[in-house]
């Protein structure tokens, strides 16, 4: 038994987790494990609740991406009601989900990851934060703030509030879009698209500086999974489920997402509250796959919006295995989100007042899927004859990435961590590997007090040999 290094908590991610790095007798990294140390339990306590409560209840899972849960949950309820929602309602839900993706990606890129990208992995952690970014490049900070604010404002204008809007309901949305709000949203978009495009161009020019990180994050071979449209177009609201391998070859070509259990299994781990889904034909743990912006851009052939398609053409030349490209995939999805919202709002049918279908439960099982900022999100419910939930199964984007994240940090730790010379930069690289996936573990975003980063070096007998706090 060798030594163990613990990073607890992992910083600049959404939620609470820690990383354990296990060293062998020679002091080399044997394995790194990503532990999610918080339990939510939504699948269990949803049981017994009326199905129509699910969208508002399930959106409470997360304070960062509540809209994605709202949308997936409402779609599952649509199926329970056996209704086809009005086309305008579907478009409005789509706009809300795109705004959610844009604001969440802006948070991930500018607030959480840009300190590493702009200031460097080895920078003083006291300066390596968003204020440090603002000092080093005020315009980049302004851009990040503005891009996130636009997404938040769109959510607020559509849903009534920025966090946990109750606007999306079973059967559609509970109010049509006003022409005033449409005009207000449209007025924000040209500037947002311009900023997102310029930031993407700037980041493309920075990639050379990260050759080592790109290579370090290209050691894990995985499948990719996402929704796609009928003509393999980028899709976030409807579509079918596709999987490709790291060479780009189709593994599953547009299967109905509700059949997910035929291809995906879930492994429960004893060291984390996060379950580990895997691709069944390859088994556990070989069946690892990735979801989220990286997967979506590798799978989709085109966006259908001009600036994003131009960026996608360049992106297709990147090493498909490197998780580092998650960062740029987020920027490109921000471009697309705002371009797409602009397109959808430019059609006058978006003001149609008919936005909700009404019905009671007409089926005992419902399934809803959407692309959340971090990847494919599935809500699956069963109800009894009174419309009460008897079963809820949620496949969350971060869960899909669980196995890949564990493999990723093992490879990065092997490359950078040496037990005889622990440095802040080494440990930050392990954390940064997790940040590329932007895992969302928070769900409850309100925390009291300061939680420092704690790194412990333990001997084989458990003796504390060294400790670093920040």
């Amino acid at each position: 038994m060798g030594k163990t290094i613990i990073i607890d908590p992992v910083t600049r991610i959404e939620g609470h987790s820690k990383i354990t790095i296990q060293l062998d007798e020679q002091g080399s990294v044997e394995e790194a494990i990503f532990h999610v140390t918080q339990l939510r339990g939504f699948e269990k306590f949803a049981e017994g609740r009326p199905f129509h409560e699910m969208p508002s209840l399930m959106s409470r899972i997360c304070g960062i991406c509540p809209v994605s849960h709202l949308v997936a949950s409402a779609k599952a309820c649509d199926m329970l009601m056996s209704v086809q929602i009005p086309p305008t309602a579907a478009k409005l839900r789509r706009i809300l989900n795109l705004a959610q993706i844009a604001q969440s990606h802006a948070l991930s890129f500018f607030y959480l990851s840009s300190p590493d990208l702009l200031l460097g992995m080895d920078a003083d952690p006291a300066l390596r934060n968003f204020v440090g970014v603002a000092k080093a490049d005020p315009q980049l900070a302004r851009n990040g703030i503005h891009l996130r604010k636009v997404g938040q404002s769109i959510i607020e204008l559509l849903g009534g509030k920025r966090i946990h809007p109750g606007w999306v309901v079973a059967g559609g949305v509970n109010a049509p879009l006003s022409s005033e709000h449409r005009a207000e949203i449209l007025s924000m978009l040209p500037e947002a698209i311009k900023i997102a495009g310029e930031t993407n161009t700037w980041f493309t020019l920075q990639l050379e500086r990260f050759a080592d990180e790109i290579d370090a994050l290209a050691k894990v071979d995985t499948l990719y999974m996402s929704l796609v449209g009928d003509d393999n177009q980028f899709e976030t609201y409807d579509g079918k489920l596709s999987l490709i391998d790291s060479s780009g070859h189709a593994v599953i070509d547009r299967m109905p997402a509700e059949d997910y259990k035929s291809i995906l299994g879930e492994q429960v781990s004893t060291d984390s509250y996060l379950k580990s889904p895997y691709y069944k034909p390859l088994g556990y743990p070989a069946g690892l796959y990735r979801v989220g912006p990286l997967a979506r851009l590798h799978i989709a052939s085109r966006f259908g919006t001009p600036l994003a398609d131009e960026a996608l053409r360049l992106f297709k030349n990147y090493d498909r295995r490197s998780a580092f490209h998650y960062h740029q995939a987020r920027l490109i999805e921000i471009i697309h989100a705002y371009e797409s919202i602009q397109q959808l709002l430019s059609d006058d049918s978006i003001l149609d007042p008919h936005v909700r279908a009404h019905a009671d439960a007409n089926a005992f099982e419902g399934f809803g899927v959407s692309e959340a900022p971090r990847g494919t999100l599935m809500h699956h419910y069963k109800i009894d004859e009174n419309g009460l939930i008897t079963y809820a199964d949620l496949m969350i984007a971060t869960g899909h990435n669980s196995l890949a994240m564990n493999r990723e940090i093992t490879e990065v730790a092997k490359r950078y961590v040496k037990n005889d010379h622990l440095t802040e930069g080494m440990l930050n690289r392990v954390e940064a590997a997790i940040r590329t996936y932007d895992p969302c573990l928070s769900c409850s975003t309100h925390a009291f007090g300061q939680m420092p980063l704690q790194i412990q070096l333990l001997s084989a007998s458990g003796l504390l040999l060294d400790q670093v706090m920040r």
């Binding site: 607030y111 006291a126 204020v131 005020p138 703030i145 503005h146 938040q152 966090i163």
Partner: protein, 160 residues
Amino acid sequence: MILVIGYGNTLFADDGFGPAVIDLLMERLQGNQSVEIISCRQLLPELVEQIAKAETVIFVDANVRLLPAQFEFSPLQVDKECSPSQSGGTSAHAFSASSLLNTVEVIYGTHPCCWLCSVGPVELRLGVPMSEAVAGVIPLAVDAILNKASLTELARAGGR
């Protein structure tokens, strides 16, 4: 323009002081456009755009450094050493008022005159109602904010 930002989590008893003050302030203002008000759970970086445009900003919050139910209305200083990670937030996107002000100054080169309107919490447990002592401070806080707002308006009008 005067901007009032009340922040806190209403699920945690007296931590909801800021949003509760905003609710009463909205009633008292009756649509008066000279004061812009924001109610939120936590301070986020995207507030800096609005803060930078304001002449005066009043942050309303519960502050555990004060004695229980103690009310304080004091100038807020920029803490230039204060980073998000030092401000009590764990996720680097929740800021303290002073670190948010620091961010405004760093990005825009200046910051408005800022005040902190705060109360010492008595109760902070999840799911517990706001304590009577802190609820009793809400009208005082609103009066103090309106007083500051009217003084600011007077100063702008030439000190009439």
